[in-house]
Subunit: 186 residues, 2 copies
DNA sequence: GTTGGCATGTAACTGGTTACATGATTAG
DNA sequence: CTAATCATGTAACCAGTTACATGCCAAC
């Protein structure tokens, strides 16, 4: 069988279909409360990508209108399933990449006086705190509910995210304390 | 004074000029060993952006040829310095965003059998391990050398990065152990 | 003498976002 | 009745990367 190479957003959509989402809109909604933190998605990506997947026979589309409101219900095909599994098993790991304006600021913080440095660190910590709280209170419970149906990895990932944010929060808290004590770069 | 709004790559370049890089090439080289992990940059971004900064009077350019090899030496102006400081002090925090194919795979790992899940987790852990080692052995020492000259935040950021990768590594190690013991989703 | 690093720049492309455009259904 | 949400799609734009193009200088 020919190996099908797709980009990550395509696998995300195949995966969401497998998890029960059927319309493009539903895929986007599901992504917003789960993969958003490590793979954000917009509707303008979802619809064209679904059309492409249909052309390639990785999903099938059927009409699923609700009253007069049009809706398409997509389903993953065997070919689609095979492509998804092959990707999940492939050993090639893309290097992690992230971009963050906050950390960039911190990197350049020697340019500003002590009080501003301290304020910056505080802001970064409170941002990490907000992220931790949000993950723990909003995302983890949803993922845990899924886990009861046997789909466990969303909960694993939610917890990884929440814990990592919490770690960053503690780390920045320690930095703040050190700065407070030491009067670095006044 | 008119508030100048620039995008993060522009501030990165202003900051690198402040830290002693003078040519576009040098900025790119410096970014590759420091900001790469939270703000990667390519030469095709650096040169046009420097030209733009010069047009806006945030940097000045002078000729700095080395023999017959052309080179431009840039310097941050007072206006440039002011713009950088204003950005560093501004309270608005852009939300952290990162994209990672590895975590996306983990999120969808319920689709593959137990052995493959375990292999995936192992790969993610070893990737985190490699990142930790690289940061600790390559990046942190360079940043520490800078710190002796009084520029301390690059070392702070390098340590934050190294520690966070190490945390992820431990976390994935625990997950691996749990999976190994529990035979989740066989 | 030849390889690798220094040095600058542009063109084409890719991946992704925001804004636009439209309309139905449902919950308050 | 009206606001929010469901639902689909396109067009324009933006940020960033890769590939191309060129050539000098230093080290081995």
């Amino acid at each position: 069988m020919l190996a099908i190479k797709l980009k990550p957003p395509a696998y995300l959509m195949l995966g969401m279909l497998r998890l029960g989402a059927s319309s493009g809109y539903a895929i986007k909604k599901a992504a917003d409360v789960s993969t958003r933190f490590f793979w954000p998605t917009s509707l303008a990506q979802v619809y064209p990508e679904l059309a492409r997947l249909e052309r390639e026979g990785l999903v099938t589309r059927r009409d699923d209108a609700h009253g007069a409101r049009a809706r398409s219900a997509y389903q993953i095909t065997e070919r689609g399933e095979a492509a998804l599994l092959a990707w999940l098993r492939s050993t090639h790991e893309a290097p992690l990449q992230f971009r963050d304006e906050g950390v960039l600021r911190l990197f350049l913080a020697d340019a500003i006086p002590y009080a501003d440095q301290l304020a910056l660190v505080r802001r970064l910590r409170s941002r990490a705190h907000a992220a931790t709280v949000h993950m723990r209170s909003e995302i983890v419970p949803l993922a845990d509910a899924l886990a009861e149906g046997g789909t466990r990895y969303p909960a694993v990932v939610a917890r990884l995210g929440a814990d990592t944010y919490a770690y960053a929060e503690r780390w920045l808290g320690r930095l703040e304390a050190e700065l407070g004590g030491e009067r670095l770069n006044d």
